[in-house]
Amino acid sequence: MLNEDVNPDSLEKPHFSGKIAITATGGSLDSLVSEQFGRCKYFIIYDTETLKFEPILNPGEQAQSGAGPKAAELIINKGAKVLLTGHIGDKAEEALKRGGIKIFDGFKGSVKVKDSVSLWLSSY
């Protein structure tokens, strides 16, 4: 399904329209995906309409407890409709689903943020 001619540095014109949140270890599209939701270092918010991305430090990372809720709050406040991550706890997953956010987990920490987005968009 992946278009093999696509230049890896550009992302396909998506059928999905809106913001995608990705858990990340760093602040750029080349950073690796973070497998952990609650305590990842960054969230990358990618807007498929403007094709711009925004890296945000995860407030949950520093939180003594309740990291999951704080991270979830961030995603909701940023208006993301989709979350890409490695692993998310049951409660945080339930909370986000109730908030209308679609969750796709199972992404590996060896994948770059931009590749995770391409992968997901192409299979959407």
Binding site: Q64, A67, S110
Partner: protein
Amino acid sequence: MPDNKYKQIVILSGKGGTGKTTIATAFAEIISEKIIIDADVDAANMHLVLNHKINLESDYFGGKKAEIILHKCSQCRLCESVCRFGAIKDFIVDKISCEGCGFCYNVCPDNAISFEETNAGKYFQCKLEEESNFYYAKLLAGEGNSGKLVSQLKKQADKKIDENIKWIIVDGPPGIGCPVNASLAGVNLVVIVTEPTQSGLHDLKRLIDLLKIFKIPSGVIINKYDINMEMSRTIEEFIQLEGIPLLAKINFEKNFVKAIQNSKSIIKYDSNFESMFRNIWMKIETIIKN
């Protein structure tokens, strides 16, 4: 894509005194490319038998505590009436009972309550003899929030993970409550150390129920199994029914206690035990790879 990722193992027991720390320390001695965490922050013991050097000692701020500023207080007792934890009496906050909810602070009409992070303990970043990283912590007496401190230790350990690290070995806390939950974060396999007693079996069952909620696979070591062979068999049958592998049965060994009394890990005290623990570890590696 080759999977170079590290694996995290936590050693739990449910019940105290089964030999969890002895076994965790033995693994720590024989494995290389590892990070060791003593997550029993309530009563940390690994540092008493593992030769180590403390590189950094840090204060741990566990949560906020309320304190009444007497010269601002109009003695209305509103704080006392809203506190659900019985922590306020006659305009004094009992720091141990205070759970840091901030209700009194938010409700005080005189702004006479300060609500600040307080020192709840210390954590230590250390190096073992062969330069592996080792982390432990000490919670101050009567403190809550042990789960948060366990999470803090894991966070510190995270910083030292690189391609060379193959294993994170965590010596877990007893029980099934908050600190145990925190010790389970990111774990690939739980090694349960139990003993052939009624209490051992009882607490093993509770622990297994907890692990089902977290959906983390486990394996069991029956320590001191020859104290009660019948009970040991009962435990073996039980875990077989639960689909949990038996990793090992260890005899009651006087040397386990003697090693601790001499502040040594069992491997250092008597190298004859090394092959036994290597065999058990091989079993653990096999299970994790599947």
